[in-house]
């Protein structure tokens, strides 16, 4: 077996004392290993900083790619508040035909109050609907231009607890729908479901986009590390000649990849935070229109940790992929 602890006897006079390295146990070896990792961690950071222009350009490109994915993710997180702010209710909105007057609507309202399957009702007359619409929709002026009220009378129906499964709700919906004065009745959940499935679609989209951008991050880091490797070719070859293992040689480059990913992740976080800050005003304004039911959400501390972790891992993988193919080629002549 090959072992560097096997030394010739007599020992060369240059180091007559038996070294601690050789007499020491695993603990000392681990200690040396840990120290060397720490040294390489910081020396590789130093290397990234020493070429500020190149590093900044690489990190910026990486950060933009990461911020792209993270930014879309933040938009979705924000939009999800919309679906979340609606309670899981079976409320049915019943829109009466426009020709039905408020008086007729009130009569229907009273009739339905006797209904055992309905627990509560709310009547929104044409005028009330108009007032509400003008206040919240932002289309108030457009409506003023019309000389009649286009909005129908609406009755909000809350089914009683007896109606608790899907079929019963559908049956009730059908019955309400059949009523003569009714134009159409709609389960509020329906459009919530639609919104949710749209949201799921968007999430898939972000996932796909993230996968693509991750590939971009891998390739960009890989290419940067390849150039770095080229400029340190001589060093790699000399290290090989004095007995450096593959993992020893690739270590500083992997740490380099780590730093690129980590720093790019941090810059991406800054970009997304800035983006949310810019969007905050319009979002709050939009929120007002929805009874202030949601707010601009900024990336949380946990999001930052995730972002840094993912981008650092991507950086390491990108570097690793290149090193596997390139390091073999560098052989001492």
């Amino acid at each position: 077996m090959v072992n560097r602890r096997v030394n010739p006897k007599p020992r060369p006079r240059i180091a007559p004392k038996k070294s601690n390295q050789q007499s020491g146990g695993i603990q000392q070896h681990l200690q040396a290993y840990f120290i060397s990792h720490l040294q390489i961690l910081f020396s590789s950071l130093g290397r990234v900083i020493r070429t500020p222009l190149t590093s900044m350009m690489t990190i910026s490109v990486l950060a933009i790619a990461i911020a792209f994915a993270a930014g879309f993710y933040m938009l979705i997180v924000n939009a999800q508040q919309l679906t979340g702010s609606f309670e899981d209710s079976n409320q049915i909105s019943v829109f009466l035909k426009t020709k039905v007057t408020d008086t007729q609507g009130r009569k229907l309202f009273q009739r339905w109050q006797e209904e055992p399957l309905i627990s509560s009702l709310q009547l929104i007359t044409k005028d009330e609907a108009l007032a509400e619409f003008q206040t919240y929709s932002g289309f108030g002026e457009a409506l003023e231009a019309l000389d009649y009220n286009p909005l129908p009378t609406v009755i909000l129906v809350e089914p009683s607890d007896a109606v608790n499964n899907h079929q019963q709700i559908e049956a009730l919906l059908e019955r309400l729908q059949q009523t003569e004065e009714v134009d159409f009745a709609q389960l509020d959940m329906r459009w919530l479901q639609r919104l949710q499935s749209m949201m799921e679609l968007a999430q898939r989209g972000v996932l796909l986009l993230s996968a693509l951008l991750s590939l971009a991050v891998l390739f960009i880091t890989g290419n940067t590390i390849r150039l770095e490797l080229q400029s340190r070719q001589e060093e790699v070859i000399i290290a090989k000649l004095v007995g450096a293992t593959h993992s020893f040689i690739q270590r500083p480059f992997l740490y380099c990849g780590f730093w690129y990913g980590f720093l790019a992740g941090f810059v991406a976080w800054l970009i997304v935070s800035l983006m949310m800050w810019i969007l905050q005003k319009p979002i709050e304004k939009l929120s007002m229109l929805y009874d202030g039911s949601f707010h601009a959400l900024f990336p949380s501390f946990l999001d930052l940790i995730y972002l840094l972790t993912i981008s650092a891992i991507l950086g390491i993988i990108g570097a690793w992929l290149v090193l596997q193919s390139q390091l073999q080629r560098l052989k001492p002549e």
């Binding site: 007599p10 060369p12 006079r13 240059i14 180091a15 070294s19 040396a32 007995g243 002549e333």
Partner: protein, 216 residues
């Protein structure tokens, strides 16, 4: 310590560079490897340093057949060798200390051990006090001493030197040879490839002569 057993080396498109090479070096033996340019001196050294593998025959170092090494084992064989080059192969942007420390750092020595050993090696080659200097400010002789210190710092069993005095004047060459003799006396096997006939004749050592790839 080192055995060549019917060793052939053929390069595609070049032909046979080494033809049926047989010799053995004992522990603590010092020998010269000579022959005109292109006789195969460097190739022979490369086989020992596992930079190349023989096409046929066996190269055995300390009982280990170098042809059968896996890629993973190669670094550990190289840690038992001290390699010295004509062009020194120093890292120009690292201090003398860092250059000499490289084999130790590669082998995972603790910083305090590294420091102690590097200073001992520097002292041995007569460069104490120059550890913070960078190679470009040193003379050729000094740079080669740094190369030698790097080669001996991890206590190799075999020192291989490829034209170590090729770029040095006779007086410096003599000093360098003196160093090799000292190492040899401590039990290290030393093989020096050179075409400097004057140097060899003054030393009274075993001489291996290569001619067109064969030992004569």
């Amino acid at each position: 310590m080192l055995t060549f057993n019917h060793v052939f080396k053929r390069y595609a498109g070049v032909g046979d560079v080494l033809v049926d090479v047989n010799f053995q070096l004992e522990r603590g033996e010092m020998a010269f490897l000579t022959g005109h340019s292109g006789a195969g001196k460097s190739t022979l050294l490369k086989l020992i340093a596992v930079m190349e593998k023989s096409s046929r025959g066996q190269v055995i170092l300390g009982g280990q057949n170098l042809n059968r090494l896996t890629e993973r084992q190669i670094p550990f064989i190289r840690r038992r060798l001290g390699l010295i080059f004509q062009d020194y192969k120093l890292l120009q942007d690292r201090t003398v200390f860092d250059n000499i420390a490289l084999p130790l750092i590669v082998a995972g020595y603790r910083p305090q051990d590294v420091s102690r050993r590097v200073r001992a090696a520097l002292n041995k080659v007569g460069l104490s006090g120059k550890e913070k200097k960078y190679p470009p400010v040193l003379s050729g002789g000094e740079q080669q001493r740094v190369g030698i210190a790097r080669a001996i710092v991890n206590r190799p069993v075999v020192i291989l030197a490829d034209e170590p005095t090729g770029n040095l004047d006779p007086e410096l060459s003599g000093e360098i040879m003196g160093l090799f003799e000292q190492f040899q006396q401590t039990g290290v096997t030393v093989l020096i490839a050179t075409h400097d006939v004057n140097l060899i004749s003054g030393m009274q050592r075993r001489v291996l002569t290569l001619n067109k790839g064969s030992l004569v």
